[in-house]
C-alpha cells in the first residue's frame, strides 16, 4: 500500500460518518423540519450497533440494529414536534442530551471490550491493483453505502415526483396542505429517514472507524454534520464535497504535524473547520441560488386546519 493510498483510505473513513449523517439531515430539513438531535441519534446508533454486534458476533446485524435504533429514536422527536407541536430547536437539543445520557447507560457494561470490526471488501485481482485497488475495491461496506446514498438522495430530491413533493412541503407547508399533500405524514417519513441515517453513521463509528464503545464517542460529529448541511446550502453533492474536504484537511493536518513543519497545532486543529466553512461559503455565494435552496418553512411548526 502506498502512502497516497493509505491517506485516501483514512480520509474516506473520516468523511463517511459525516456524509451519511448530513445526508439524512438534509432530507429532514428539505421537508421543513430542523432536527438538532443528530448527535444524540448518532450516539444511540453507535451503542446499539456495538451491543448487537457484540451479542450476535455479526457486524452486519449490528449495523441494521443501529439503523433501527436511530429511526426509533427519531420517531420520538417526530411525535413530539409533529404531533404535539413542541418547539423543534428545544426538542432537538433535548434529543441530543437524552441520547448521550441513555447511550452511556446502555453502554456501561461494554466499556473496555474490544468490538467486532466490519470486514472490508476484498475482490481477488481488483483489490490488488496498485494505487487505486484498495480505494475503489477494498473499503468497508458502509463507505459504498454512503456513496450510493448520496446518489440516491440527489436523485430522489431532484429527479422524482416524491422528492418534489417533499421539497414543496419544506418550502410552503400551507400551500402543500391546500393541494392535498399529507404534510405531517411526509415529515414523519423524512424524520425517520434522517434518524436511520444518523444511526448508520453511528454504526460506522463503533464498527469500522474505532471498533469499541466509549461514552460520547461521537465527539461532536453530529454537530459537524448539521453545519455541513447549512454550509452546503442543502445540496447533496456539496455535502459530499464538504464532508471529504473536512476529512482531507483533518488527516492532512495530522500528517503535517507528524512531519514536524512547526505550525502551531492549535491552528492546525481548527483548519478543517475553517477550510470547510470558507470553501462552502465560496461555492454558495450566489445569493439567489442559496435562497432558492433554503427550505422556507424550515423549523416552523405546522398545524393543519381541519
Amino acid at each position: 500500500m502506498t502512502m497516497f493510498e493509505a491517506i485516501l483510505l483514512t480520509v474516506a473513513t473520516a468523511a463517511t460518518p459525516l456524509l451519511i449523517a448530513a445526508l439524512g439531515e438534509l432530507v429532514v430539513e428539505r421537508s421543513g423540519v430542523l432536527n438538532l438531535g443528530v448527535e444524540g441519534m448518532m450516539v444511540m446508533g453507535a451503542v446499539t450497533g456495538f451491543a448487537v454486534a457484540q451479542y450476535t458476533g455479526s457486524a452486519w446485524l449490528g449495523m441494521f440494529a443501529a439503523i433501527l435504533a436511530g429511526a426509533a429514536f427519531s420517531l420520538l422527536f417526530g411525535f413530539l414536534t409533529l404531533t404535539l407541536i413542541t418547539n423543534q430547536v428545544a426538542t432537538g437539543l433535548a434529543l441530543t442530551l437524552l441520547g448521550l445520557g441513555a447511550s452511556a447507560m446502555i453502554g456501561e457494561s461494554f466499556v473496555g471490550l474490544p468490538g467486532v470490526r466490519m470486514d472490508s471488501l476484498y475482490i481477488r485481482g481488483l483489490t490488488d491493483i496498485p494505487y487505486v485497488g484498495r480505494v475503489l475495491f477494498g473499503q468497508d461496506p458502509i463507505f459504498y453505502i454512503s456513496i450510493l446514498l448520496t446518489i440516491g438522495v440527489a436523485w430522489f430530491l431532484f429527479r422524482t415526483r416524491a422528492g418534489l413533493t417533499l421539497r414543496a412541503v419544506g418550502d410552503n407547508h400551507t400551500s402543500a396542505h391546500a393541494l392535498g399533500v399529507p404534510v405531517v405524514r411526509i415529515r414523519y417519513l423524512a424524520v425517520i429517514f434522517g434518524g436511520a441515517c444518523a444511526g448508520l453513521a453511528g454504526a460506522q463509528l463503533s464498527l469500522v472507524y474505532v471498533p469499541q464503545w466509549v461514552e460520547n464517542m461521537t465527539s461532536g460529529r453530529g454537530w459537524i454534520a448539521l453545519a455541513l448541511v447549512v454550509f452546503a446550502s442543502w445540496r447533496p453533492w456539496r455535502i459530499l464535497a464538504g464532508a471529504y474536504l473536512f476529512g482531507a484537511v483533518t488527516i492532512g493536518q495530522l500528517h503535517a504535524q507528524a512531519l514536524g513543519i512547526g505550525v502551531p497545532s492549535q491552528l492546525m486543529s481548527s483548519l478543517p473547520y475553517l477550510a470547510t466553512i470558507i470553501v462552502l461559503v465560496l461555492i454558495s455565494r450566489n445569493k439567489r441560488l442559496t435562497l432558492m435552496n433554503t427550505p422556507t418553512s424550515l423549523g416552523k411548526p405546522f398545524v393543519p386546519d381541519r
Binding site: G112, L113, T250, I251, A258, S269
Partner: protein
C-alpha cells in the same frame, strides 16, 4: 447569654442529629472531568474510589459527580458535595484548582484533595503522579524494539504533564539508541477516539513502528493492532485491545492513596500536604511486559527497579534542550518545580512545541 444558649441548642441538635444522619460514616465525594466509562483517566480514578469502598466498607460512603467542566460549574459542583455532608472531597483534574481552593475557604472543616495542581491550603492537599517515570521505561523498550528508529507519540495538550512524558520517553530511548527519533501529533483533545485513531494512522503511514499516546481512549492501540505494529497503553491496562500489540501500559493506581487519605481523616491525622509520587509509592504501576523478547523484558524490569529504588532519575544530566543549549550538567537532576512547569523539549524530539 442568649448567644450561648443558642450555641448550646445548636450543638445539642447536632449531637443528636449527627450520628442519626451519618451513622458515623465518613462521606467522601469525587469530582470527575469525564465519564467513568472513558477507560482512561476518569476510569482509573473511579477504580480508586471502588478500591476505597471495598477496603473501608461500612466506614465510608462515596459519591461522585461526573463530566464536571473545569470552570464556574466546578465550583458549584464541589460546593454541592460539601453541602451534602462530604468531609473529604477529591477533585481530580488540573483545571479544578482555583475552584477547589475557593470552596475550601467556605468549608474549613471539610478536607479537600486536588489532583495534579500546585495550590495548597490548611484544608487543601495536592497529589500528583510521576507518570514520566513509566514513560522512561517505555522509551527504553521502544528503542530496543523499533526497526525504523522512530516512534510516534500522540499528545493531548502541550501542558507540562504531557511534555514531561515526551521528554522522558526520548531520554529513555537515547540510552539505547542515541539517534532515536519521535514524531509528535497533538490531538488537541483528551478524548476523541476517532481523531486518535486518525493520528495513529498518520504516524504509521509516515514510518513509525511504535505508537505511544497521552490521550485517553484505546483507539490508537486498536489501529496499531490492525497495522501489526507495537504500542504502549495509557492510564489503564489496554491489553484486551491489542493482545499481540501492547508491550506495557502506564496504569494510574490511585486506590492506595485514596485509602490512605480516607484512613487519615478517620483517625484524625489528616494534614495538608503536597505530594508528587511515582513508582516507589505505587502510584505508577506498569502493566505486564508482553510482546517482547526476554532480553528487552529484562532490561525494562531492571530500569523499572532502578527508578523505583531511586537509583535512576529520568531527568538527570547531561541533558541538552532541543535548541542545543545546556539544561542539566552531568550528574545534575531536575528539581520538582522545574519538572512540574516543563515547557520545552529536550534534544532529539522531532517536533516544534506549540506554545
Amino acid at each position: 447569654m442568649k448567644k450561648l444558649i443558642m450555641a448550646l441548642t445548636v450543638a445539642a441538635s447536632f449531637a443528636v442529629a449527627g450520628p442519626a444522619l451519618a451513622a458515623d460514616k465518613l462521606k467522601i465525594g469525587f469530582i470527575y472531568i469525564g465519564p467513568p466509562g472513558d477507560f482512561g483517566w476518569t476510569y482509573q480514578h473511579d477504580q480508586g474510589r471502588k478500591q476505597l469502598e471495598k477496603e473501608l466498607g461500612d466506614k465510608v460512603e462515596t459519591t461522585f459527580l461526573e463530566n464536571v467542566p473545569e470552570g464556574a460549574d466546578a465550583e458549584r459542583s464541589i460546593e454541592r458535595l460539601a453541602r451534602a455532608g462530604n468531609k473529604l472531597i477529591f477533585t481530580t483534574s488540573f483545571g479544578y484548582m482555583d475552584a477547589t481552593v475557593k470552596v475550601a475557604q467556605k468549608f474549613p472543616d471539610v478536607k479537600f484533595e486536588h489532583a495534579t495542581g500546585y495550590k495548597t491550603a490548611e484544608n487543601v492537599s495536592v497529589y500528583n503522579s510521576r507518570f514520566y517515570e513509566g514513560r522512561y521505561v517505555q522509551g527504553v523498550i521502544a528503542a530496543k524494539m523499533s526497526k525504523t528508529g522512530v516512534a510516534g507519540y500522540i499528545g493531548s495538550f502541550p501542558i507540562p504533564e504531557v511534555v514531561q512524558g515526551i521528554n522522558s520517553f526520548i531520554l529513555g530511548a537515547q540510552t539505547v539508541n542515541p539517534n532515536f527519533k519521535i514524531k509528535v501529533i497533538w490531538a488537541n483533545s483528551w478524548f476523541d477516539p476517532a481523531k486518535e485513531a486518525d493520528a495513529a494512522k498518520a504516524l504509521i503511514d509516515q514510518g513509525v513502528d511504535i505508537i505511544t499516546q497521552h490521550t485517553d481512549s484505546t483507539a490508537a492501540m486498536q489501529v496499531a493492532a490492525e497495522r501489526k505494529i507495537k504500542a504502549f497503553g495509557q492510564a489503564s491496562d489496554m491489553i484486551k485491545f491489542g493482545p499481540e500489540t501492547q508491550m506495557t501500559s502506564i496504569v494510574d493506581n490511585w486506590g492506595p492513596y485514596y485509602i490512605e487519605r480516607a484512613k487519615a481523616v478517620l483517625d484524625g491525622t489528616w494534614k495538608s500536604h503536597n505530594v508528587f509520587e511515582g513508582m516507589k509509592e505505587g502510584l505508577v504501576v506498569m502493566a505486564p511486559y508482553t510482546n517482547m523478547p526476554d532480553d528487552v523484558k529484562k532490561l525494562a524490569e531492571e530500569t523499572q527497579a532502578k527508578i523505583t529504588s531511586g537509583e535512576l532519575k529520568p531527568f538527570t544530566g547531561p541533558i541538552k534542550k532541543q535548541d542545543g543549549s545546556e539544561w542539566l550538567k552531568a550528574g545534575e537532576t531536575a528539581d520538582d518545580k522545574t519538572i512540574l512547569s516543563m515547557n520545552f523539549y529536550v534534544a532529539g524530539v522531532d517536533d516544534k512545541l506549540p506554545k
